[in-house]
């Protein structure tokens, strides 16, 4: 494997609803990222989209977006991992460029959740047998939150700073869905109960979005970008598929395995991570990922939020541009937003949300309730 760098990014503002269709969304960010990288042609396109089949009646989005982007004849593949989908094609592009199969690759994520019913479609990331018995993705997260609170004696407002910090950070992100929203602990605790004990503001929103990045070999990166960002490692791990089959349902073994492997391959220690873009689709998931990656002991992750150690000036800033919670979670596009934001952070261009002297960042994507976890570490 040769080292691989990110040399171009593009993101559209996350919106509650957009008039653009999947191919238009995809082409806009593909062309945007290629323009930033100063390239007219790439060797391969890898695409991510979770719900198009269900909500738009559209499969096969990689070839669709390649065509719309004017990349006729190119290698184009869609890669799937439920809610972790955005990171799956990123990894494939990393492998393609790293192996020498491709010299330039573009990774694109698109999602339009504003049409049709997203919640039942999202539940298809679970074992269909459990869904037939009435479970949903949200109910699984509610189960975990209730269990966590009981086992570790967490007060009712113990998770409140996960959404509060995410929303605070989103206010300085022009691409965030909730850039104009004020959220304080009271707002969270007064928000509607979704699936007890999960409240509306514990959950990431339904939204539309698209983002893309261009990868090149690190040794050629400066020809494309004055500030390339290196992909230091890319890992994926899986866990027992059903939450109930795990020896400890409150432990995300896939997140643990992929984070440890990512540290090792990047040759960094946990303490070297300057910020962590967690998959905070639900407050409880952010908490469990912090524990799985070693930033807190089991049952202690919520203290990182309680003590605001996850804020921009804390020891492990998370969701620095709003996270899934407040930037928004247009599923297939989410990881590409995370990467684009990390590139801003590592270039020192995150404006008011800049994490000081950030040199190394980590991001995770979680499929289902932790069945698949994909971790990437980026650095300069």
């Amino acid at each position: 494997m040769r080292p691989v760098s990110i040399v171009g990014t593009a993101q559209l503002p996350v919106q509650a609803t957009t008039q653009l269709d999947l191919r238009q969304l995809g082409a806009q960010v593909v062309r945007g990222a290629m323009q930033e990288a100063g390239v007219e042609r790439v060797d391969a396109l890898f695409a991510s989209n979770m719900l198009g089949d269900e909500l738009q009646g559209q499969k096969h989005v990689a070839a669709l977006i390649a065509d719309e982007s004017g990349l006729e004849g190119i290698e184009a593949l869609q890669v799937q991992a439920a809610m972790a989908s955005g990171s799956a094609p990123l990894r494939m592009a990393y492998l393609a460029v790293g192996s020498g199969e491709a010299d330039l690759a573009v990774v694109v994520g698109v999602e339009k959740m504003s049409e049709g019913l997203a919640a039942p479609a999202l539940s298809k990331a679970l074992d269909a047998k459990e869904v037939a018995d009435g479970a949903t993705l949200i109910s699984k997260n509610a189960d975990l939150m209730r269990l966590y609170r009981k086992r570790y004696n967490v007060p009712e407002d113990g998770f409140v700073n996960f959404p509060v910090v995410a929303h605070h950070n989103a206010r300085n992100n022009p691409n965030a869905l909730f850039k104009d929203m004020n959220v304080n602990p009271r707002t969270v605790m007064k928000s509607r109960m979704i699936h007890d004990p999960l409240r509306l503001l514990d959950c990431s929103p339904i939204c539309d979005g698209a983002a893309a990045v261009v990868l090149s070999p690190a040794e050629e990166a400066r020809a494309h970008s004055p500030h390339p960002v290196r992909i230091l490692s890319s890992t994926v791990a899986t866990d027992r598929f059903r939450v109930g089959d795990r020896p400890n349902p409150l432990w995300l073994e896939a997140a643990h395995k992929s984070a440890l492997k990512a540290y090792r391959l990047a040759n960094v220690h946990r303490g070297d991570i300057d910020f962590f873009e967690v998959h905070d689709a639900f407050s409880i998931m952010a908490c469990m990922q912090l524990e799985a990656a070693g930033f807190a002991d089991q049952g202690q992750g919520w203290h990182l939020a309680e003590e605001k150690r996850i804020s921009l000036r804390g020891d492990i800033p998370i969701s620095t541009m709003g996270g899934l919670k407040a930037r928004g979670h247009p599923i297939g596009a989410t990881a590409l937003y995370q990467v684009s934001e990390m590139v801003l952070q590592l270039r020192g261009r995150a404006g008011k949300n800049r994490v000081r002297e950030a040199k190394i960042g980590m991001m995770s994507s979680v499929g289902g309730a932790g069945s698949t976890v994909i971790t990437h570490i980026l650095g300069i």
């Binding site: 919640a119 039942p120 018995d133 009435g134 109910s139 269990l147 699936h195």
Partner: protein, 133 residues
């Protein structure tokens, strides 16, 4: 669907029939034929008692397909007394508060409608245990 397979599915759905691993004695539900604990073949049928306790629970307001008419409904992860955790709806809850640890027992109930064929689907749910154990 092959008849024997269909029968197996019916047994799982109605009666909590799983498997026991002949090598490590792990109790398996739902049946999967390969023991997740030791990796050996496990095809011996095992009848679970249907007794257990609430491991965690919530109330569903946004249902998956086939359950839209039932919302809101309580759904739980139940720890069977033999060990496995199963997902199931709670029923006959009445005024009784459901908590982590509440003893429950299996009953057969209508689960919902099969999305494509509109057929009623029956299966197991759990209710608060009637007899103190």
């Amino acid at each position: 669907m092959e008849t024997s397979q269909h029968w197996r599915l019916r047994k799982q759905r109605y009666a909590l029939v799983g498997e026991v691993c002949p090598h490590c004695e792990s109790k398996i539900f739902p049946p999967r034929d390969i023991c997740p604990d030791c990796g050996e073949d496990a095809r011996e049928m095992y009848q679970f008692s249907g007794r257990g306790e609430v491991y965690s629970h919530t109330t569903v307001y946004q249902a998956p397909s086939g359950h839209a008419e039932n919302v809101p409904y309580p759904v739980a992860i139940v720890r069977l007394e033999e060990g496995p955790l199963v997902t199931a709806q709670l029923t006959d809850v009445g005024d009784q508060p459901i908590e982590i640890g509440t003893p429950v027992e299996m009953v057969t109930r209508k689960l919902g409608a099969d999305g494509e064929r509109g057929m009623l689907v029956y299966g197991y749910k759990f209710r608060p245990a009637l007899v103190e154990r």
